[in-house]
């Protein structure tokens, strides 16, 4: 650990560097396809764009904190990253996105067809990988997560543009699109290590709360963060008419004029110059950006509290720091 290592995520990446190197090698090996060269082309575009690999890191950390000594964590960590990459490819088709991690999306560089089919290939590769360690409970956790993810994405699709979307629906979407894979990533660690059920539950709860926090921060940043930092444009959710937490709360408080504004811009999708700025002004005036930030902080605290069930371990301290770091992005 050197003085130049700046934040908890980077420190985690460094401490788990050997394992992460094996995960990256495995990802590279399994994204190959002798028969269809387009597959590694499309996948490499996304994999090389330098995501933070937070999900596989969580699996490695959760196995490490339980003293796991085998090899299965590397395969399961690669599984988790493949599932994540597959959902990114399909999300960009669904959202008709043009930018991801600061680069043009695969659907723009190739076509929607390639994104759909290469996503399917990565899903299938993920399932092949998760089968290899032969742990049926880990298989069950990861295949359940895949179903919850897809369900959350469909729910988000039907909830978009629907001004009656409430916080309960928002939470279901967030658990589906983000927290399900975070909690599966952390839960399989203790499962393959054969840890106590209290530890399995604690790491599930940590991943669940961290994932919810992560997504709420993301939704906050879409109206308040710097585009360069998060690799997407400010206001993407507004343009895609997604009902996220700051907006749901502002709609609940809206006066007649504000309600008409949300109806037009999100309900009907009629958006003009200056509308994003007006949306941000309403969210600020109604205090819902601040309350959203506070909700993210609550979830970071829940994530941290879940780890109290774990014995003292250097990795436990790092996971606590990680939760604080995730919410700090919104400060």
């Amino acid at each position: 650990m050197t003085a130049t290592v700046a934040n908890p995520l980077e420190r985690l990446t460094e401490v788990l560097g050997d394992d992460m190197g094996r995960v990256n090698a495995l990802i590279r090996e399994r994204m190959a396809s002798e028969n269809a060269p387009r597959i590694p082309e499309v996948t490499a575009h996304l994999i090389d764009a330098g995501g933070k690999r937070i999900r596989p890191l969580l699996t490695l950390a959760a196995a490490r904190v339980c003293g796991y000594q085998g090899d299965a964590h590397v395969k399961l960590a690669a599984t988790v990253e493949f599932i994540h990459t597959a959902t990114l490819l399909h999300d960009d088709v669904v959202d008709e996105s043009g930018q991801r991690r600061g680069r043009p999306t695969a659907n723009l560089l190739w076509d929607n067809q390639s994104s759909v089919l290469v996503g399917d290939y990565l899903f299938a590769r993920a399932f092949q990988l998760m089968v290899e360690p032969g742990n049926l409970r880990a298989l069950s956790i990861l295949s359940n997560a895949a179903a919850v993810i897809a369900e959350g994405e469909v729910l988000q699709l039907s909830a978009a543009q629907d001004l009656s979307t409430d916080e309960a629906t928002y939470m279901k979407v967030v658990r589906g699109k983000t927290a399900a894979l975070f909690s599966a990533a952390t839960q399989v660690g203790p499962v393959i290590a054969g840890a106590d059920e209290t530890v399995v539950q604690a790491l599930f709860d940590y991943g669940d709360a961290l994932g919810i926090c992560f997504q709420i921060v993301d939704d906050f940043l879409d109206y308040g963060g710097a585009g360069a930092e998060i690799g997407k444009n400010l206001g993407d959710d507004f343009r895609e008419r997604k009902l996220t937490l700051p907006v749901i709360r502002a709609i609940a408080m809206a006066d007649a004029e504000e309600r008409a504004f949300w109806e037009r811009t999100l309900g009907k999708g009629v958006q003009n110059d200056g509308d994003l700025e007006r949306a941000m002004a309403i969210l600020t005036a109604r205090g819902t950006l601040e309350s959203t930030r506070q909700t993210a902080l609550d979830w970071a605290n829940k994530a941290q509290a879940a780890l109290n069930a774990l014995p003292a371990h250097p990795m436990r301290a790092m996971l606590i720091e990680l939760a604080q770091f995730v919410v700090r992005r919104a400060s």
Copy 2:
């Protein structure tokens, strides 16, 4: 068995009726989603359209011919149908199809987004289902098949419009898009029954050859069959510029004028009234429809021969009849 039961597929459906009833009930149960009602809507549209359920029937038949007595075959048969349904949803997005099984496609009735995400949900449900019986070899077979399917679809995408596509590439596409799921469907039967390796191999070979035969017949019918019978329009492959066996063989024999025709219609995608008729006339004159039919017949015979390794059993006779029936569609 009554006199009104007309063909081997219907006879198989009748003999396996009890098991198939349980498969259909399981499919209905697992396609539900409490959180996202759009999922069962989209799925029911496809499931109710009355596909022949040939793939789950193969799993049930393969388990039955090996004397299997447990419950796993029902779950694996439903798995196979879910994988198939998921690929249909994604195929229709990729092909921009408007019709499937004689009805408007889901991407037309809802939107591409729903088709992509509901397909993902069905893939995930398939993986949940295949995990439940806890047979690691069956898991490995089915997850490998899913990867080969996706690879075949990507390969087909890059091979479309490419006049240099040869028969070897065509066979890879056919094995991917069709035979991989047929052979996985038949192979998991003996695997869960704990049958001898010779029987496992025989049923794999049968499914592989039957699937190849099935796809070649489908590609033949696209230039020669009645649209009503196969539920798609005559000439779909031509319009989608797919390089199928009759065309690949005709291009290999083409004179300069024919070559220019294929270059324009399939290579460049410039198609005018009368081009489909001209294509069919060339395929007939070059004898490639007839040679394609003969190749399908060869594969049906290979499927039948594979079953020689099995002990005599009424179900073995029905599987032999099924192979003959599949190729008879092209007569």
